[in-house]
């Protein structure tokens, strides 16, 4: 029993410690951002590796999610005779919540893990200290382009997710279940707001992009230089991102809903 509390305390201490270290690391990365943007070629290359290559998984998942939203939504709305509100429901759910959140989690799985293991492996094979010996700062040369590419990629991916999700919902709702296409769009247009819905989704995805990228590069950069160390960093990259994104999502949603 006492051991359990000790473990809990230990875990809590470690959590606060990691949070502090990550925040400090984020400060450093933000400080380096202007200089890193000057070498946009490096960011562009990473954007290709982690952004463009995530497109397929994001796109396919989005269509499936949109379809299942339409199926479930149709059955619920049908009970109230309000199936013409299907478009609103699908769009709202995707734009405000599922688009940003699922994109961030999928991104962590597709790109975050590979970033963490790549950087961890570079550390383990002396490549980072090799760079330091050549008077090249690995934070500038390795970390920054990857971080920035992630920060840019996630909001774009989230928007693509929401758009394709609505398309999936349209296919099932209008094409399969016979909801009228007119109200599907017009009710959506009447209910979805640019500022509070679409933009809040965009803000969320920017926050998630920073979170997912930060966690991935931090875990990789600080991974113990061993096989186990790198594999743990990879796992942590996705687990921490998923939990952090869900928590931050709750926070942002509470603030936005509280305001409206």
């Amino acid at each position: 029993m006492r051991a359990m509390f000790r473990d809990l305390g230990e875990a809590l201490r470690e959590f606060v410690e990691t949070l502090g270290a990550m925040t400090r690391f984020l400060g450093r990365l933000l400080w380096e951002t202007p200089a890193a943007l000057m070498r946009f070629g490096l960011v562009w290359y990473q954007l290709h590796r982690i952004g463009a290559h995530s497109l397929l998984i994001i796109g396919i998942s989005a269509v499936f999610v949109g379809m299942v939203l339409a199926l479930q939504g149709y059955h619920i709305l049908n009970q109230f005779g309000a199936t013409e509100s299907l478009g609103v429901m699908v769009a709202m759910t995707l734009v405000r919540e599922l688009g940003p959140v699922l994109t961030a989690v999928l991104f962590a799985g597709r790109a975050g893990t590979s970033l963490a293991s790549e950087i961890g492996l570079m550390r383990a094979t002396d490549q980072l200290s090799g760079m330091e010996m050549m008077a090249v700062d690995p934070v500038k040369r390795v970390i920054m382009p990857r971080f920035l590419a992630g920060v840019i990629a996630v909001p774009l991916l989230a928007a693509i997710f929401s758009a394709l999700g609505i398309f999936g919902g349209y296919v099932v709702g209008v094409g399969l279940l016979g909801v009228d296409a007119g109200p599907f769009w017009s009710q959506m247009n009447a209910a979805v707001d640019v500022r509070t819905d679409v933009m809040s989704g965009v803000w969320k995805s920017i926050a998630f992009g920073i979170t997912a990228s930060l966690v991935a590069v931090y875990e990789g950069y600080n991974a113990p230089p061993t096989a186990e160390g790198v594999s743990r960093a990879t796992t942590r990259a996705i687990v921490i991102t998923a939990v952090a994104v869900l928590a931050i999502n709750l926070l942002i949603t509470a603030i936005i809903v509280g305001e409206g």
């Binding site: 002396d126 090799g130 330091e132 700062d137 040369r141």
Partner: protein
């Protein structure tokens, strides 16, 4: 212990003390490395030769003592100053430390691209001449994973000298090389040194090669400098430490074993 006579030192260590996990690696090391010469640092495996190079380049911090490179104190200087210093130093890693997502060509070009604004044609010229001199011009487009250990070492060598540094530190340049490339590398180090007048530090156990190439050699064992001199002097040295090392004797004062407790005792007690 004599200093290399009549030479202005490029690197000077004084009263250096360093320990790892509470185990002292260096107790009290003082040595100087003359400018424009080839100096060898020899010693049995695990005595801290690599550690010494890392201390000289500021990758590790000593517990006590001073390290001066080019008259500048290395310990405790800021990152900026350290990077400025490192731009003038070429470093060959014991295991190459090539960047695995760049090919051989880009690995050698890496310091040039990072630190200079040279046009592509000039970079191409520099990279190709360095690769030619290590015999790997034909391997320019291979990825590091496609190289053997010795090839990787040679690429690392080309990369270490591509910026025309004033000081080159070679960590085990001969290990794992076949006799032919070994001869080529020995000649190369000599040539680079004479043509450019730079200071070379070679960490090695290969007494033969060191004798061919080095003007001066230090032998480290047991956390101390046990001898220093020209290779010929060291061969004639009477001290049992030096004799053991220079003449490859397994018995003598230089410990072959990592510090451990009594052997029979260790055998008897099965760890649980």
């Amino acid at each position: 212990m004599t200093r290399p006579a009549g030479q202005e030192p490029h690197i000077e260590l004084e009263g250096l003390r360093f320990q790892r996990d509470g185990r002292p690696i260096f107790e009290d090391v003082s040595l100087s490395i003359p400018r424009g010469k080839v100096t060898a640092i020899m010693g049995p495996s695990g005595t801290g030769k690599t550690t010494l190079l890392r201390l000289v380049t500021g990758q590790l911090l000593p517990e006590r003592g001073s390290i001066r490179v080019d008259g500048q104190e290395v310990t405790g200087i800021g990152r900026e100053a350290l990077y400025r210093l490192r731009k003038r130093i070429g470093f060959l890693f014991q295991h190459g430390a090539l960047l695995t997502d760049l090919d051989v060509y880009e690995n050698v070009a890496f310091p040039l691209r990072e630190h200079t604004q040279l046009p592509d044609c000039l970079i191409h010229h520099l990279v190709m001449t360095k690769l030619q001199s290590v015999g790997l011009r034909g391997a320019a487009r291979l990825m590091p994973s496609q190289l053997s250990g010795g090839m990787a070492r040679r690429v690392g060598l080309a990369r270490a000298v591509v910026m025309d540094p004033e000081l080159v530190l070679y960590d085990e340049p001969f290990a794992g090389l076949d006799p032919i490339s070994m001869g080529v590398i020995v000649r190369l180090i000599r040539e680079i040194n004479e043509a450019l007048g730079l200071t070379s530090v070679i960490v090695s156990h290969d007494i033969e090669e060191v004798s061919q190439v080095a003007d001066w050699a230090w032998i480290i064992a047991d956390g101390r400098i046990i001898a220093g001199g020209t290779p010929e002097e060291l061969r004639g040295e009477e001290s049992p430490w030096v004799r053991q090392f220079m003449h490859r004797l397994s018995d003598g004062p230089v410990p072959f074993h990592f510090p451990a407790r009594d052997y029979p005792e260790d055998l008897r007690e099965v760890p649980r």
